[in-house]
């Protein structure tokens, strides 16, 4: 990545003293690394852990709500930022998983840990959907803009389909699909416990669960993108032809990245559905599908940390703008996207890193 400073690149040569997994978490395909970064990382986690002690219930629940979305953003960073495949249809997998969670939990209830089965089935459905669609696309050698418009078209058709399921004949078991009004009445995530099941309504326990999942997911993805697999993804993004001529079946790698990324969109979908006990076609439509693109593009799609930070910041801005009306929020989001794409195509955070990198270099040059 062009924004890396020279000394960072030297570090891309593996250091024999470090154990393998630690080396993989650190670099070279991720921007933040080295002792300073990990100190800041630990402090951030610490702050996030004590946050509920200082914040009111609404803020904690709201932060948990933000966390729900980040998985989808990280998945898109993997597909688009690392593997270079434009997928504009992540909300389809979000919705598919959300509806699956609804159907499972409405029919079978929340006891015996069945909501967790609902989560797994939801994520599984989105992986399966992504595997089928991805197989057709990548093995059909679809790339570039066509990949974007076919995934977007699929999402729009799926949203249209769900929007016309208002009639009572559209039900799976007891679960009414609900058309434009969406599906409601599913239970929240419920952890089976000896002294009685714990239902995780929006609150402190859910916050901690999501925080833990987020940290695991972020670190896991860091290992993935810095592994041999991640090397190949970046090689495919930079020059797919050359990657193939080095003996890689690029279709397979693109498909795997697509399935993992879409599974994460599915995870966001089930978590969102469980959080709000609600999912509707408007979570998938054209405006909704644009949001993950904006989070990832604004933060910096080619880096997981930039995506993570960017997503949380943009979500915060978006929510504060909706006070004036969601239309205004969307207009500002659109403006933000246009400005970033035109002037800072790598995203705001890599742009800043590059800027300060140059600044530091100049200072070193003078001394």
């Amino acid at each position: 990545m062009g924004m890396l400073q020279r000394e960072d690149l030297k570090a891309s040569r593996p250091d024999g003293r470090m154990p393998g997994w630690l080396r993989l978490i650190n670099g070279p395909q991720t921007l933040g690394r080295g002792p300073l970064f990990w100190i800041v990382f630990a402090l951030t986690i610490g702050a996030a852990v004590v946050y509920p002690a200082f914040a009111d219930a609404w803020s904690v629940g709201n932060t948990a709500y933000f966390f729900c979305w980040v998985f989808m953003a990280l998945g898109l960073s993997l597909i688009w930022g690392y593997a270079g495949s434009l997928s504009f249809g992540q909300t389809a997998f979000f919705g598919l998983a959300g509806y699956t969670y609804g159907v499972v939990t409405i029919n079978f209830g929340a006891a015996y840990g069945l909501t967790i089965v609902g989560v797994l089935l939801g994520v599984g459905m989105s992986c399966l959907g992504a595997a089928v669609l991805g197989y057709i696309l990548f093995y059909g050698r679809i790339s570039g803009v066509f990949l974007g418009i076919v995934t977007l078209s699929t999402t729009l058709v799926f949203a249209t389909f769900m929007a016309q399921t208002a009639g009572s004949q559209w039900a799976i078991g007891d679960a009414r699909l609900g058309g434009d009004n969406g599906m409601t009445g599913m239970p929240p995530l419920t952890i089976p416990w000896a002294g009685g099941d714990i239902a995780l309504y929006s609150g402190v326990p859910l916050y901690y669960l999501l925080l833990a999942m987020l940290v695991i997911c972020y670190l896991g993805l860091r290992v993935l993108v810095n592994s041999r697999f991640g090397n190949v993804l970046v090689a495919i993004r930079e020059n797919p032809h050359r990657a193939e001529m080095l003996g890689y079946d690029i279709r397979r790698y693109q498909l795997i990245a697509f399935v993992i990324g879409s599974g994460l969109a599915g995870l966001s979908g089930v978590l969102y559905t469980a959080w709000g006990q609600y999912i509707s076609p408007s979570n998938m439509d054209l405006a909704a599908a644009a949001l993950p693109i904006i989070w990832v593009a604004v933060g910096g799609r080619k880096d997981l940390t930039a995506t993570l930070v960017g997503t949380l910041v943009v979500l915060g801005i978006f929510q504060n703008l909706t006070i004036f009306g969601s239309y205004y929020a969307f207009v500002i989001m659109g403006l933000l996207l246009v400005i970033v794409v035109v002037f800072l195509p790598e995203g705001l955070i890599p742009g800043l890193v590059k800027f300060f990198g140059r600044f530091r270099k100049r200072k070193e040059g003078m001394s």
Partner: protein
């Protein structure tokens, strides 16, 4: 035993014949140069061997195994490596990462590290391991690509104009590299325009013209061949 052989290879492209009845063969351990005027079908032949084009008819054998139906990456895994004319390096990654992507398919851990070190030393880029590949000079980029291609120790190395755009010193150094690889047993097939360079490395030369094998022989035989001289006149090397 042949390392590479084609049998009655034909390729039609939108009605234009770009390969016609090509019966090519080269031996294990050979350095072969492929020459011919522009549009003679040299790069098409490379693309057929690499599986980027499917032949209209005919067969391709690598080490006497039929590879005609294999996909590109499968052929590469069998032991064919290629260095393209335009450097196909990953310019936003470091030299080391470029090498790692080339090698990691075959080797792991310490043996991977030592293979990379060896290949970098061979192409004299050890000092540049931490630099971005895109910031190397043109000659260094060409060498990096040769390093990537040979790091996996392929049995057959395809080189498309390996010296294009190089200074005379770089060209000579590249020739030495090729000969050194060949001494270790690698077979090499190179498309080349620079006849002096061809004289330096080639065991045998194949001349392509209009998609057909026009002549074949040692460099002396080819240079003495008046017919060959004639096809070069007129169509010409004037843009070289």
């Amino acid at each position: 035993m042949t390392i590479l052989r084609t049998e009655k290879l034909y390729k039609h492209f939108d009605g234009v014949k770009v390969a016609q009845d090509v019966n090519f063969s080269m031996e294990h351990g050979e350095i072969r140069c492929l020459i011919g005027p522009n549009g003679a079908g040299k790069s098409t032949f490379f693309k057929l061997v690499l599986g980027e084009h499917q032949p209209s008819s005919g067969e391709i054998y690598f080490s006497d195994q039929k590879i005609t139906k294999l996909r590109s990456f499968e052929r590469v895994k069998q032991g064919i490596a290629v260095k393209f004319q335009v450097p196909g390096i990953f310019s936003e990654l470091s030299v080391w990462q470029n090498m790692q992507i080339a090698v990691q398919n075959h080797l792991h851990g310490d043996s991977m590290t030592s293979a990379i070190d060896k290949a970098l030393a061979f192409v004299r880029l050890t000092d540049k391991a931490g630099e971005l590949a895109g910031e190397l000079s043109h000659g260094e980029q060409q060498w990096l690509e040769i390093g990537m291609a040979v790091s996996t120790e392929p049995r057959l190395l395809l080189l498309d104009e390996p010296t294009a755009g190089m200074t005379p010193e770089e060209t000579a150094r590249t020739g030495e590299m090729i000969q050194e690889l060949n001494r270790k047993g690698m077979s090499i097939l190179a498309v080349e325009h620079d006849m002096e360079f061809v004289r330096q490395i080639a065991h045998k030369v194949t001349v392509l013209n209009f998609g057909e094998i026009f002549a074949e022989g040692t460099i002396n035989e080819i240079e003495a061949n008046e017919e060959v001289a004639r096809i070069y006149l007129g169509t010409a090397d004037d843009d070289e």
